[in-house]
Symmetry: D2
Subunit: 134 residues, 4 copies
Amino acid sequence: MFEHRRQVAFHEVDAAGIVFFPWFHVYLHEAMDAFFGGLEGGYARLINERRVGLPAVRLVSDFRAPLRYGDTVAVRVEATRVGERSLSLRYAFFRDGGGEVAAFEQVVVATDLARMCSVPLPEDVRSVALAHLA
Amino acid sequence: MFEHRRQVAFHEVDAAGIVFFPWFHVYLHEAMDAFFGGLEGGYARLINERRVGLPAVRLVSDFRAPLRYGDTVAVRVEATRVGERSLSLRYAFFRDGGGEVAAFEQVVVATDLARMCSVPLPEDVRSVALAHLA
Amino acid sequence: MFEHRRQVAFHEVDAAGIVFFPWFHVYLHEAMDAFFGGLEGGYARLINERRVGLPAVRLVSDFRAPLRYGDTVAVRVEATRVGERSLSLRYAFFRDGGGEVAAFEQVVVATDLARMCSVPLPEDVRSVALAHLA
Amino acid sequence: MFEHRRQVAFHEVDAAGIVFFPWFHVYLHEAMDAFFGGLEGGYARLINERRVGLPAVRLVSDFRAPLRYGDTVAVRVEATRVGERSLSLRYAFFRDGGGEVAAFEQVVVATDLARMCSVPLPEDVRSVALAHLA
């Protein structure tokens, strides 16, 4: 189980006084970036130099409780399926000293960013996912 | 069928050169805001003065094609269920001069923002949804 | 005098209940984008295809009053200097039915985005600026 | 000298391939938040419970070099003036293994967020600033 921690920032709160839900998806993406941090050069090199990305094609989001400025959230990431060209990832968000606040099921597809078409999962990406298979 | 149009902004593109997926959710929320634009004082007054919000509790997102800076997207919104305290909304995104790029199914719950608990849907909110029931 | 109008969005408000100041800069950039809307293909084609950008090298920001969700802001843009490789632009923000809420002085430099070095201002960019010279 | 470190995130890059300048201001604000981290309950409690904020009234920004996804930036913060109701703060941004990429001079005013009017700087806020006076 991989865990990424993130503090809610001042500006991530909306007019309702709670974290605007797309920021949960930003936290999710940051957690995915950290999840692949063990790749040589990290996720940044995968994107910037190898020009392979992992865009989401499907995302199921369950929001169970609000987050507020000052909260810290722990995002737990695991792979639930490792395919030839796609991965399924599950994210569970916990508030410090509290329960689960949100859960996400995501399918991402390995994509050649120059031609914008699917490609086989790079071996090192696949290995990270397999190392965290549920 | 309600339609909201939105241009992709310069900064909504990410390191992969395409719109970062949480921005789709921002567009979705802007479309929901416009969908309820006929309320007296709009969605802003619902939030700021009446202190009732419609936070999402569930959101299923299907991303079918990328968006890029310079694209204009049409977001079509309709209600698929109008309950006592919750609504289901469906959003379909179309790129100008192109096909469907994304689709979303969202469940929102009428929420008292001061006490952060569910409340019956206000009558005027309910009416807007019923007027656009699929 | 060029004017761009923008509604404050739900999520642009922060934990203090007012628009987070970097969103003023996003509005400014959207106004600059619209200011150059008369270029063939707009600012988007300048960036995406001609690969010339206008990054800011200096920006002086004066914030005079807060903006809130529900406000509409009018951004007035004019050029105050048109150089060989750089432009100075002035932005004044007015709240609907109210006074000036912010003012900005910006210097941007024409930049080859592939080599990330300054270049002469493209003729059509220069013309737009000259047409709106204070 | 107070230092705050921040990695550039995937989504902070724009259609020009470099960090969109308002994100520099987000980093700046995060650095200010961390600068006041020693307050009891941090900057979050100042905002959420004590309802005192430090909105910027003036900000002079100099952008010297671009940042890219994958970069880490060190933000050095110091106070340059501590007044009765306002503070001047200076921020210098350095890229890891590189030179200064941006510098900012900011004036913030202690503000009662309920009445949205200036108030004397709280003593503990003042102390943090004095401890980091240039």
